[in-house]
């Protein structure tokens, strides 16, 4: 208690020096939480957006379907199993037919993946209702903003697409862009052209067929597949993004460590400087009868109190800032689509209990340790050397 009281008295007496350290530490503490919250928010958003716009609550794939190999698309579709047909009819699933093709904007060929989807589906958050068109002359089509940028297509534009039907025969027709959608999931945007399912089935001469079936998020027990249809659960479907998130988290952890290191360096520097500057004071403490262990405790406490004060200061000015960023988000249109994972127009940080409590604890422990190190050096100082201002 006495040690804490003296440490507090020393800190308060040191005035501006204490408050500068506290400010630097609290700033680092806040930036760590804010940045980690941002990364956390980005990861959670990416996961949720992938579920909402691509993965749904799991999928049944045609056994030969490989989304990374467009050459397999022609042969990897089939009629649904009875269970999947029933699930689709109940609105618990939606079929998607996929084939590879090409689009000819401004007369130049660009590869594209043609995806047929039911315009009335409610499983994915894609605005498929735009694909309901009375116009029989051209095929209604929907693309994402990235695809629109790449092909320079706008709503109302007509453009030719080419594909091969189930017999391997090339065919071509004009599509009309009815909607350019802002899709946060790159997999539903880049290189993708969305068409009405029945029209694509007609184009491929594959009536009633699908490449994969997306299940709704609230489907508790997936229907039985058969030999043709293989269940891919969300863990499988999100494996890639989970890996990407882990990689991004690793790099953010480096920044986390760097920020913490800088803050601790400030404390360590202060404490080491204290040995040099306050050695006479330390000698006086010893001459007045303070035991070595208490000197170590005093300096360690002083350092740890920097951490505590930084937490208090950080809470005072940081909570409003963190709350504001939590509510308003961080606008980041320039980054959209360039991250390789789903990115919103405004990034909303997520400050979890684990992040806040973990960072708080880590800062306090680390500050105490870096304060103890120079303090333990003090303990080895002879009182006469300290009084003379020597450091060894």
């Amino acid at each position: 208690m006495l040690t804490a009281k003296l440490a507090f008295r020393n800190l308060m007496g040191a005035g501006i020096r204490t408050w500068l350290n506290v400010f630097v530490l609290s700033l680092a503490f806040l930036v760590i939480i804010w940045f980690q919250g941002l990364i956390q928010g980005m990861n959670e958003y990416a996961m949720q957006a992938t579920i909402d716009y691509e993965a749904g609550g799991g999928q049944f794939w045609h056994r030969d379907f490989d989304p990374y190999d467009p050459l397999t698309f022609e042969d990897s579709h089939a009629a649904l199993s009875p269970a999947l047909t029933e699930a689709t009819a109940r609105g618990e699933a939606t079929s998607i037919l996929v084939t590879s093709g090409a689009v000819f904007p401004e007369g130049r060929v660009q590869p594209a993946v043609l995806r047929g989807i039911d315009p009335g589906q409610q499983i994915l958050k894609l605005p498929t209702e735009y694909l309901r068109s009375e116009d029989e002359e051209s095929i209604p089509a929907m693309i994402g903003t990235q695809m629109a940028r790449r092909t320079k297509l706008r709503v109302g534009d007509e453009v030719t697409i080419r594909w091969r039907d189930v017999h391997g025969t090339f065919d071509a027709d004009d599509i009309r862009i009815v909607q350019i959608m802002s899709v946060p999931a790159p997999g539903a945007d880049a290189g993708q052209i969305w068409l009405p399912l029945e029209r694509l089935r007609l184009m491929l001469q594959a009536p009633g067929q699908a490449s994969y079936v997306v299940l709704g998020g609230d489907v508790q027990a997936p229907p039985d597949g058969d030999d043709t249809w293989v269940l891919r659960d969300t863990d499988y479907l999100l494996k890639e993004i989970t890996e990407l998130v882990r990689m991004k988290s690793s790099s953010s952890n480096i920044l986390y460590g760097l920020l913490l290191f800088m803050a601790l360096l400030a404390i360590f520097d202060t404490q080491v400087l204290a040995i040099w500057r306050r050695r006479k004071e330390i000698g006086t403490f010893m001459a007045l009868g303070m035991e070595r262990a208490r000197v170590v405790a005093l300096f360690t406490f002083e350092g740890a109190m920097h951490g505590l004060l930084a937490l208090v200061a950080g809470a005072v000015y940081g909570i409003p800032i963190l709350a504001w960023t939590y509510a308003k988000g961080l606008p980041m249109p320039a980054l959209q689509g360039d991250f390789g994972i789903a990115m919103p127009q405004a990034l909303y940080p997520v400050y979890g209990l684990r992040l806040v409590a973990g960072t708080t604890l880590l800062v306090l422990i680390a500050v105490t340790i870096v304060s103890f190190l120079p303090a333990s050096k003090i303990a080895r100082l002879k009182p006469t050397d300290a009084l003379r201002g020597k450091t060894r």
Partner: protein, 244 residues
């Protein structure tokens, strides 16, 4: 008058390593100090005054011989025991005052009592009493940087005396003070010595201090060359021109 020995040294030796050899700071120092004495270790710089004072104050340990302070053999004390001896029984006054810069006058004087663990009310009374001895009750909220040299040394005296130690060790206490302040401080110490029967041991070569001593132990090259009882040569009046 024999009030009982509070300090006894016998064949006390202190060596400091210098390069491959050793420098002898104290060489066979034998002396006895009785309770209530007002004595000085005098001699030129490097004669061993401060070294002897440090050993008596349990800030340093002897290389040979013995130093017994208040019944405790300094050579055998652990760090903790030495700290307790200083804390409970000794007071220190330094040439450069060594006040704690971030503490107020009150807090500086209070500090040794905090270490002793004195109860709050008693502590406050003791601090105010000590500040009254040195005439600084109007400066309790000042910080050391706001004090003059004389005031700072008076705070240091109050800090040394506040726990009413049995021995006060003062290392060149007037070296940084002018004549007026030196005499004020010394007169105050004489008064406290007489009132509280505290033993004062000075390490000094300042003639102003020497005139107040009742016993003078002269050291040269680490040896005691003279140990005499003297009659103090000060008066309670104005400072003489010679001291100015």
């Amino acid at each position: 008058m024999n009030n009982g020995a509070v300090i006894t040294t016998e064949d006390l030796v202190k060596h400091y390593p210098v390069g491959r050899g050793a420098f002898t700071a104290l060489d066979d120092v034998t002396l006895t100090v009785e309770r209530g004495e007002f004595l000085g270790l005098v001699g030129p710089s490097g004669s061993g005054k401060t070294t002897l004072l440090n050993i008596i104050g349990a800030l340093d340990s002897p290389s040979g011989g013995s130093a017994v302070v208040l019944g405790r053999d300094i050579a055998t004390l652990s760090h903790g025991q030495a700290a307790r001896l200083r804390n409970e029984h000794l007071g220190f006054i330094f040439q450069t005052y060594n006040l704690l810069p971030v503490y107020t006058v009150y807090e500086n004087v209070e500090f040794p009592l905090l270490l002793v663990g004195m109860e709050t009310g008693e502590r406050k009374r003791a601090v105010l009493e000590a500040l009254e001895w040195v005439g600084l009750t109007d400066k309790i909220d000042s910080r050391p940087a706001q004090l003059s040299g004389g005031e700072s040394q008076r705070v240091a005296v109050a800090r040394a005396m506040v726990k009413k130690p049995e021995i006060v060790l003062a290392d060149e206490p007037t070296a940084n003070l002018d004549a007026d302040n030196s005499h004020n401080i010394l007169r105050m110490m004489v008064r406290l010595n007489e009132q509280l029967k505290t033993t004062f041991v000075f390490a000094t070569h300042d003639q102003k201090v020497i005139r107040y001593l009742r016993r003078k132990i002269t050291l040269n090259d680490g040896r005691v060359i003279e140990d005499v009882t003297v009659r103090p040569q000060y008066d309670d009046g104005e400072v003489s021109d010679a001291d100015r």
